[in-house]
Each structure stands twice: as C-alpha cells, then as structure tokens.
C-alpha cells in the first residue's frame, strides 16, 4: 500500500515539505499582504494624482491575492487521506462485530486544511464506530425488517461555499428517541411533558456527561465521547447536525471551514475597539426604530430588540466584557447586528460597520488567551487588529 503511494509520488513529482516551512510561508504571505496594503494606503499618498501608480497597485493587489490563494492551497490536502484510514477501521469493525458493512465514500477529493484533517480523524472515527457498532443491525434483524443483509455506511464530503460538509450516514436502526428523551429529561434538559423537536433532542447527545453508553448504544469507549467530538468541532469553528429516522438510519453532518488561516469577516467598530465576525453567522443588520428596543429591568436588567414580531436578546459587548461604556456617549450605538447562534439569535449594537474582508487569523496567546468569547485576532488590511468574536459563546453567555 505505502509502496504504491511512493511510486505514485515519484511519478507525479510530489514533494514532502515540512509543515513548519509552510506555516512560515503562510505567515510571510500574511505579512506581505499587510505591508502592501499599508504602503498602498499610506497617508503620504493622499491628494496626489498617480495614474500609473494606481495601475501598478491594481496589479500588485491581484498578484498578492493570487499568492495568498496559492499559499492557502499548499496546506490543503484531499480528505481521502482521512477517509482511507476510516475504511481500514471499518474492516476491523466488521471482523469484531461479525456484521457485513458496505462502506461508500463520496467526494474524497474534497480539499481541506491539513491542520483540520489531522484533527478530524478521531471525531470521525467515533461517529463511524458508533454507526458500525450500534447503528447497523445484525444481518438477520436487517433481513427481517426488509433491508439488505449488508449494512451501509456512507462517508461523503463536499465543499459548500467556504465550508466543507462531511456526512456520515448509515441505514441502521436510527437513534432511539424514547431512550434519549428519557435521559435528557433525567438530566433536566427538557421538562417531563415537553416533546422537543427531533433536532433539538439529538443535540443532547453532544452534551458533556450525557452518557451515550447507558442510553443509545453503549459505545465501546476509547476515551472519545460525543462531547469530545463537540469540543473538537468548536476548536475547528465547525458545527454538527444530527438527523435520524427510526428504522431508517442516522445521519451526522459536520460543517467545517476549509481554511483556518483566512476568514471572511465583517468588521465592526464599537468605541475604540474593532471586532470581526465571520460572515456566515451574521443574519441581519438593522437600524432600530425607537419603539423597537425594549428594556426589561427584571432579573438584573436586559434588553430586547423587536424584529418582525420576534424578540431578540441584545448583547452589549461592553457589558459582556465588564468594561465601562466605551462607546461614543453622544451617539449611542445606532446599528444592530443580528447573529445566528445555536442558542438563538442575538443582537449586538455597534457604532459602525466598517468593511467586509478576508482577514488573516492569529491565535490568542499569552495574556490574550484569557479574553472570552473570541477565536483569535484578525489582522486587517489597514494593519489594525480586530478581535474575532465567537458568537456561539457570546450567545451562550447572553441566554444563560
């Protein structure tokens, strides 16, 4: 197997390069694009008529963008590498469980950041193992219920916009609503008479401490639980969706951004501070009329924004971060940005919406790692730094 890969690499002229070198190149490309925009936007150029310069700048910018794309590309690997490892694991599971499993792989050539791919194997293994071990019924049971004797697990990947969607689907017995609901009620996620929507119910299995071992399918634990899957997905800025039909199977969909290095963001200003928000969580930008803001003094005071008959909780960033109001006192924040989070929509007032741009992401290290509800710093084209908001944690903080 590995010999075959090596011959193939020799033929196609592939090269092994250490990931450190690529990271270094990515950093330099980031710096290059920053210093280009710094030069081009230099205040020294204000008021000058520079027609040839502008043409050159245009070309320079095009080249920089291409270099940026090419550098991002270097880190992209086909997701097939991960899928192949999973296929081997499924063969192993076939032996262990005595079930016959048909593993179908689709979209293996979908490109994904190497850093993401490396982190995906364990959580995906967990989902696949779950399907093989307990989702799929033994052959006789399958035949009795009119299904083909061989169970099927489909692993598919596809790029949707700036996200990669990975789906693990099986045609097994599906999640047991009764058992999960009972457990969820025990844990107090739902009231005794509450009948939650299926999608809301399935989410429970990712809650820390929601032991799947006693409920759905007693997983052969390798120390990797569903809640670990959840935390890996948070670290990768991804989302999970589960769908299941009794008797027909379970479908787990992971949505992950293609690249961790660059992020398509909207830039917001509040007082002196800049924030960046990934474009896909912004659902709406509104300018509230006076009557649409509702103050509630009960429970420590909160505010609501009425949008088309619905009330959306308002999250003021300066309150959230416990800072004295830093917004301009004269012009109270006049624009509301509505974010979609898994705990519901929240509205965040800002002073100004500046721009939409591809930002270079930098992780928060040292003292900054303690800043809450943030994924990292974004370096803007102007050389300024904005804090990238993690709207999920912001939303959880508001509704909690």
């Amino acid at each position: 197997m590995s010999a075959a890969v090596e011959t193939q690499s020799a033929d196609t002229g592939l090269m092994r390069v250490s990931s450190d070198k690529i990271s270094r190149l990515m950093d330099l490309v980031g710096e290059l694009s920053l210093s280009v925009s710094e030069t081009v936007q230099s205040p020294d150029l204000n008021g000058l008529v520079l027609s040839n310069f502008d043409t050159a700048v245009h070309r320079l910018n095009m080249i920089v963008r291409e270099v940026q794309d090419a550098a991002t590309d270097l880190r992209l690997v086909p997701i097939d590498d991960v899928f192949r490892r999973l296929r081997r694991m499924v063969r192993e599971l076939e032996r262990q469980t005595g079930k016959s499993i048909d593993m179908v792989i689709e979209g293996g050539d979908t490109a994904i950041d190497k850093l993401v791919a490396d982190k995906l194997y364990d959580p995906l293994l967990h989902v696949v193992r779950n399907s093989a071990d307990h989702g799929l019924e033994p052959s006789d049971e399958r035949v009795a219920s009119g299904k083909p004797a061989q169970g099927r697990i489909t692993l598919s990947a596809a790029q949707v916009g700036s996200e990669v969607q990975i789906i693990v689907a099986d045609d097994g017995r599906g999640l047991s609503r009764d058992r999960i609901l009972r457990k969820a009620r025990e844990k107090g996620f739902f009231g005794p008479d509450e009948e939650p929507e299926p999608s809301a119910l399935w989410k429970c299995i990712f809650e820390p401490g929601f032991s799947t071992a006693e409920t759905v399918s007693n997983l052969s634990g390798r120390g990797v639980g569903m809640d670990v899957l959840n935390s890996t997905m948070t670290a990768l800025r991804g989302r999970i969706a589960v769908d299941s039909t009794a008797g027909a199977g379970t479908r787990v969909a992971l949505h992950i951004p293609v690249s961790l290095a660059f992020l398509d963001c909207i830039i917001l200003r509040l007082g002196q501070q800049l924030f960046a928000v990934p474009i896909d969580v912004v659902s709406e930008i509104a300018r509230p009329a006076p009557g649409e803001l509702l103050g509630i003094s009960a429970e420590g005071g909160s505010e609501m924004f009425r949008l088309r008959g619905k009330h959306i909780p308002i999250c003021r960033l300066d309150h959230f971060y416990g800072a004295p109001t830093r917004g301009d006192a004269d012009s109270p924040s006049s624009v509301l940005v509505v974010f979609n989070t898994s705990s519901g929509a929240i509205a965040v007032p800002v002073d100004e919406i500046l721009d939409r741009q591809q930002v270079v992401m930098k992780p928060l290290v040292g003292r900054l790692s303690r800043v809450r509800a943030s994924w990292g710093c974004a370096l803007l084209g102007t050389g300024e730094v904005a804090l990238v908001l993690d709207c999920e944690r912001l939303g959880a903080g508001v509704t909690a």
Binding site: V371, V385, L387
Partner: protein
C-alpha cells in the same frame, strides 16, 4: 532563534555593549520607571521598539493597554507603571516597548526608557525572600548592585501573570 541573534546585533549596534563570551543568563536589560531602575533578563528580550499605535482590546486588566501589530505579530502591551500601581504618565519620544517572549508568548512592556545592558553576576544580586507581601512568588527576583547604583530585577513570568503585585514603594527607597 534567528530573531534573537538579529536583535542582539541591533542592541550592539545601538551602542549597547554585549560581549559574545558573556553568560547570557547574567545579562540584564535595565530600564527606567520614574526615578527607579529595573532590569529584566536579556535572554527573554526579542527586540526594543518605539511606541506604536495601540489598538484597544476588551476583557483585559487596565494595565494591558491593548495590542500592537508588529510586522504581522499581535503583541499585547503592558504598561509597567500601571502594573506596579504607579501613576500613569503620557507617552513621549523616550517611551519604548521592550518586546519579550515569556512562556512562549509575546508581551510588550511599556517603560519610560531603556538604559543599558549590564552583566550582573549572581554574587552582585541580593536575593531576599521577604520582597513578596504574600506567600505567592514575588515579582522581584533580586536587587542587582552595579557600582553604587541598583537595579530591581524582575521575574517576568510573575510580571505577566494576573497576580496582584503592586510594588511596595518603600522598597525602592530602601534600596537606594
């Protein structure tokens, strides 16, 4: 690593003497805060830059003034005066930022001005255990004697932590 070498070159070119044969662990970069002199181990210093445009960030203590973008690196800046509970002072052309690497994370220290790089062998460093006012590790690792002057040597890992370390002011007076 290569960064550090170039920065040492920079320091040398800036007229600060740094002999290659010196033990780097005994070398200190000294800087001024009001009329007090402090020192940090040179090994952790990556570079010294002039004051830059500071961008404010939320959710940090008041002595973290914000961050700067130093050639694509985001570096939080600590105003050491505020960290020690000293009165704030407007930044001027002598104000500098000492960029350090502490526990693999960058931090910039805003100080009134850098003085020099000194070799202070352990024999010239007075170490006392009573500097800290509590049981926690003290921010002062020792008092370095250089001729008739003294420099308060700082433990940068305590400095960048969130521990309350407002320096007792009688200390520096006593040291003079």
């Amino acid at each position: 690593m290569s960064d550090q070498t170039t920065d040492e070159t920079k320091l040398r070119n800036a007229g600060l003497s740094l002999n290659d044969t010196d033990n780097i662990d005994e070398m200190y970069l000294t800087f001024a805060l009001a009329n007090e002199e402090y020192g940090v181990g040179i090994a952790g210093v990556t570079e010294i830059v002039g004051m830059q445009r500071i961008m404010s960030v939320p959710d940090v203590p008041h002595y973290i003034k914000g961050v700067i973008n130093l050639r694509g690196k985001v570096i939080p800046l600590m105003d050491v005066r505020l960290r020690f509970g000293m009165p704030e002072r407007a930044y001027d052309e002598r104000t500098v930022v000492i960029v350090m690497d502490v526990a693999d994370a960058p931090i910039g220290l805003i100080v009134d001005g850098v003085s020099e790089v000194l070799e202070i062998p352990p024999a010239q460093v007075d170490r006392h255990t009573q500097f800290g006012r509590s049981a926690s590790r003290p921010v002062i690792s020792g008092i370095g004697r250089i001729g008739d002057r003294v420099a308060v040597l700082l433990d940068t890992s305590v400095l960048v932590s969130d521990t309350d370390i407002a320096v007792a002011h009688d200390l520096s007076v006593a040291a003079e």
